[in-house]
Symmetry: C2
Subunit: 429 residues, 2 copies
């Protein structure tokens, strides 16, 4: 085990936490010798001699062998990482969007310079997903990974579901408690989860995937109507990031989708700001990992694990043959689509309808169909799309099935009581 | 990454599974070149030339660098491991009782010979507990580990709780389904969980602990009465293995105990043959790991992970300063003690009684007191002891508390209805 000399970029909550732990734990054999910050005027809880505003004080110091980057500017962060690696320094970052957007470049520069590039904190904070995909399950045939990887949206959905809050109120509460950013668009649109899924796909399957090949639906269109429906059916709604391969190793599904989970689903109990991930392997079956996905201490924990691993020259191996995913065959899913009164259209052109209902304010259909088409046709405000969990359903299994009887949800207590047939659409079979 | 030449001892379900996977996955760079078995007359699904009944065919073959031991005889297994390591071979085993009983010796021989000694499969099958304690959380101050580490007892308790089976019927069902051994005493007495806990304590805290310093209570005295009580109180009973350190790093608790879990406890949903473990860290807070703890494929998965790690010369580092635990201060716990009518004695000498009840067949008390004393005084058949989950309660916090009012569980619907005072003991305050 070597002694590590660290140059730190950024001294926010995580940076300061790491500085404190390394000071308190000399047995880690790692010390921070320089900290580059943007605002020298701020009061800092560390010796003034450690600080600088000049990146060169780290990048050009040959005694520094590890750069830990914890700043919030992705462009500057990328530049720092590339320059550090090109100078032979190993790097650790927690910046998920920057990592997700630049995976091929970062991997190449790390490999060319023979340095470590570690980013456990970028996915699910303290939950050791990347490390376990890389190290522990590297020999097992991983079939799928599915999980709640964004704490902000999970907090909002939990508050809507358990406290009966409207979306806007729940978002505000998340922001007040520090579980959502002041600009929450990356989270609520599902793009943050997509970024993490890209990194997961690389480590689970050795595949590089383009943004546009991941089906993404956020939570910002989910209404109290949807949550009431879920409650009536004893389901919960979670934003799941999912990747799954076919038996031949090709990608079957890569998606970020609001999803109904049944009563005994392990992810159902991952509430509020927590993250939970299921890794499915051919031998190990499903493994469930759960913990805090973000925040000062969980992020610090993940960064410290990377520092600790670096002392043993740890590097991601990725999978042996990295391939770029060309295109994923469209998947068929069972979806629930809700809409405001007046937005009804002929859903039967999107798939086979199972159930349909309309009250004087809202309506919904449940249907089996191609996911991309359903998402594309229902992306206007007022529509909300929620998938049902479970394996992707191949189209054939529906084609020979008997006509679906009209399933009137009689125990459905939403909206004013209406006569049995009013407000029900003909089912398009 | 090196090519590994493996000598395998034992060709049961796990051994054969590993042989098949390694054959199917040449990219793992590992092959089995010799298999030593006890019964050459059995039909085997592998080339006859691979098999031998002479251990020397592996131990004295210098081309074999890794010995994988999967036999069910702990004495022979130990001898094989020691001899293999002394000949410079690394070793992998799944034999938890043998590992738990011989940790200092095994560690010393591995260190002296500079070889790897890996045993992930010995604790929680495919759930990567040891690896994560060793690698991922090695820098974080781990405060406690608590979990369901024995699938047989968890299956029995789940069946008793969910199907209303009696202990003997549930045990029989577990045996029929292969979730319990024909001789289940090691499992139901809690000793198997204790063995796993010893290994967990070593990797979490760097401490070697003696068997007698772990408080152990099995599940074989748990009755339907206890489970009915739990159901009424919306609790479940799980056999938890727990270790916890004080702020100064000394051991606070090491125990295997039937435990009541409240409604939202993450371990509550770990049912049937599954295992679940919570790792508590100062920074990462609680991380939850869940998966299959035993069986052919989960065990194979863990052994394969060890083989895979060995290709990179992976070794357990343990913690830097291994210490032997001298003695643990007795802990105070809130316990539930149930008993058959006629077995009542003055429980107030064991602690402060909170609740007491007796029907015409059974009775119970709940009390706060020193765990070792309660277990020792209630070990006769007919008594069952179940702890309440949560932090250990320091004695002082009770000493100044006001006298506890007699808490008659009015909603308690067990046994024949009786008048409010009949069958209730005076509470010993």
């Amino acid at each position: 085990m070597k002694t590590v000399n660290i140059g730190l970029f950024g001294f926010g909550l995580v940076g300061e936490g790491i500085y404190q732990v390394l000071n308190r734990k000399p047995q880690l054999n790692a010390c921070i010798s320089k900290i580059v910050i943007k605002h020298p005027e701020k009061q800092r809880n560390a010796s003034a001699s450690l600080f600088s505003t000049d990146a060169r004080d780290i990048l050009e110091d040959p005694s520094i062998d590890l750069v830990v980057e914890l700043i919030d500017d992705p462009v500057a962060a990328l530049q720092i990482l590339l320059e550090a690696m090109n100078k032979g320094k190993s790097v650790i970052t927690a910046n998920k969007s920057m990592v997700a957007s630049n995976l091929p470049l970062l991997m190449e520069v790390a490999r060319n310079n023979g340095v470590s590039l570690l980013y456990e904190a970028a996915v699910c904070g303290s939950v050791p997903i990347i490390r376990n995909l890389e190290e522990y399950f590297d020999n097992d045939l991983i079939t799928h990974v599915t999980g709640i990887v964004n704490g902000s949206t999970n907090f909002i959905l939990t508050q809507m579901s358990k406290q009966g809050l409207e979306y806007e109120t729940a978002l505000l509460k998340a922001q007040e408690l520090g579980f959502a950013e002041s600009n929450p668009s990356l989270d609520v649109s599902g793009l943050d989860a997509r970024n993490k899924l890209k990194i997961i796909i690389l480590h689970a399957f050795g595949k590089l995937i383009r943004d546009e090949d991941i089906c993404v639906k956020g939570i910002n269109s989910i209404t109290k109507f949807d949550l009431d429906y879920a409650r009536e059916k004893n389901l919960v709604i979670k934003l799941l990031a999912t990747c799954r391969v076919n038996k031949d190793g090709s990608m079957e599904e890569a998606s970020v989708l609001p999803t109904f989970l049944p009563r005994y689903h392990p992810l159902r109990l991952t509430d509020n700001e927590f993250n939970g991930v299921l890794i499915g392997g051919e031998l190990a079956d499903e493994q469930f990992f759960y913990g805090k996905g973000a925040g000062r201490y969980p992020t610090s924990s993940a960064v410290l694990s990377d520092i600790s691993a670096y002392r043993y020259n740890y590097r991601y191996e990725y999978k042996k043959d990295i391939v770029t995913v060309d295109q994923i065959q469209p998947v068929q899913k069972k979806c629930f689509v809700s809409f405001k009164k007046g937005q009804y259209f002929d859903f039967s052109r999107l798939g086979k309808i199972e159930e349909a209902y309309e009250s004087d304010q809202y309506g919904y259909v449940t249907l089996h169909g191609p996911l991309d088409k359903i998402l594309a046709e229902c992306k206007q405000p007022g529509f909300s799309v929620i998938c049902y969990s479970g394996q992707v359903v191949p189209l054939e299994s529906h084609e020979n099935s008997p006509p679906i009887a009209l399933d009137i949800p009689t125990d459905y207590r939403l909206g004013p009581t209406e006569s049995a047939n009013s407000g029900l659409f003909a089912v398009g079979i």
